[in-house]
Symmetry: C2
Subunit: 200 residues, 2 copies
């Protein structure tokens, strides 16, 4: 089987949510696994001078409109949570803990976190909300709460974020396919075509 698609995202990124809704069938069609990689965009923005979407007035007005339109087209729910953007530290640490301890549940957990934020409008910065999302996909929420304060997963999240930046990742979603970079949920159709043709 070919190498997995590296899928970098911040749980607080609505375009990351769009990509999370759409990447699985595209990858499956081309017999690729998806390696989910939550990162903290805030840390990356400190290096790159990037700024959160919401700080750009007209652009954010447009983005909200576009996100809703994309959700209609592809038939999934979309809301902007009241707390937005939110700190995705708890969800991201929990992801790496889970990946190391119960790998098969890591992607379902990531989807549950995204759903909590952008389908249900919950405040997914809260550890208790992350634990509740985890419980919906069969994860022991007490164990998860315990893992959040473990230095191991704090360090791991920092290392993953630093590693992403070192590979040129500056936004969410960001895909690396056999080293080829694709930034933005708008590129999912192009990714599909790229995987089908072997590139151009």
């Amino acid at each position: 089987m070919a190498k997995p698609i590296l899928f970098y995202f911040d749980f607080s990124s609505p375009y990351g949510y769009v990509a999370a809704q759409r990447i699985a069938p595209i990858a499956a069609r081309h017999r690729r696994d998806v390696l989910w990689r939550p990162i903290l965009l805030g840390a990356i923005f400190k290096s790159t001078g990037g700024r959160p979407l919401k700080e750009f007035g007209l652009k954010w007005d447009y983005s909200r409109h576009e996100l809703a339109r994309t959700a209609r087209r592809h038939n999934f729910p979309f809301v902007v949570p009241q707390n937005f953007p939110f700190a995705a530290v708890a969800a991201s640490r929990a992801f790496y803990w889970l990946e190391a301890t119960d790998r098969g549940r890591a992607a379902p957990f990531a989807r549950a976190v995204f759903r909590g934020a952008f389908a249900e409008g919950r405040d997914m910065s809260l550890p208790i909300a992350v634990a509740a999302a985890a419980a919906t996909v069969g994860i022991d929420d007490a164990a998860l709460m315990g893992a959040l304060d473990d230095q191991l997963w704090k360090d791991r999240l920092r290392a993953e974020t630093d590693g992403a930046l070192a590979k040129g990742v500056f936004g969410s979603p960001f895909f690396l396919i056999d080293g080829e970079p694709f930034w933005g949920a708008e590129h999912l159709s192009e990714i599909d075509a790229w995987l089908a043709s072997g590139g151009w």
Copy 2:
């Protein structure tokens, strides 16, 4: 015939160039005219706090790679001109002069300016380069040089840029189709699908 597609762009925008290469056949397929609308993104950025693409290190590295990839896919030339980004004042004024005096040549002129910058790498901030591009599509270059200092076209360009901002245009390319906004060259396939289906 349905209303024309409003196509806003800055001549200095490489993604505007990509859109200029691709919009005509898409519009023709759906029996739409394209109304080309050059604007000055620098003036819009003063209101919105936007910044030129080139100021973002990692993002610009990625964009150059992506632009070259898009050009390969759709089979057109692409270079980053040495003077980039450049002030598109002369080209934009000339466009509105031409649209008022020899309408049928306005879009071919716009394509010639884009070609000069992003296929041939010329410095299209220079009036003489704009005039030379105009001459390639049968426009009287001396008359064009005369129009550049006419207050009428200075005012017209300012009014078009202000009008675009008032409609929510904050980037290049930006399309308005029956009032529906689409930002970015990545959306051309979506525009094609939108026009085919009547929207979603």
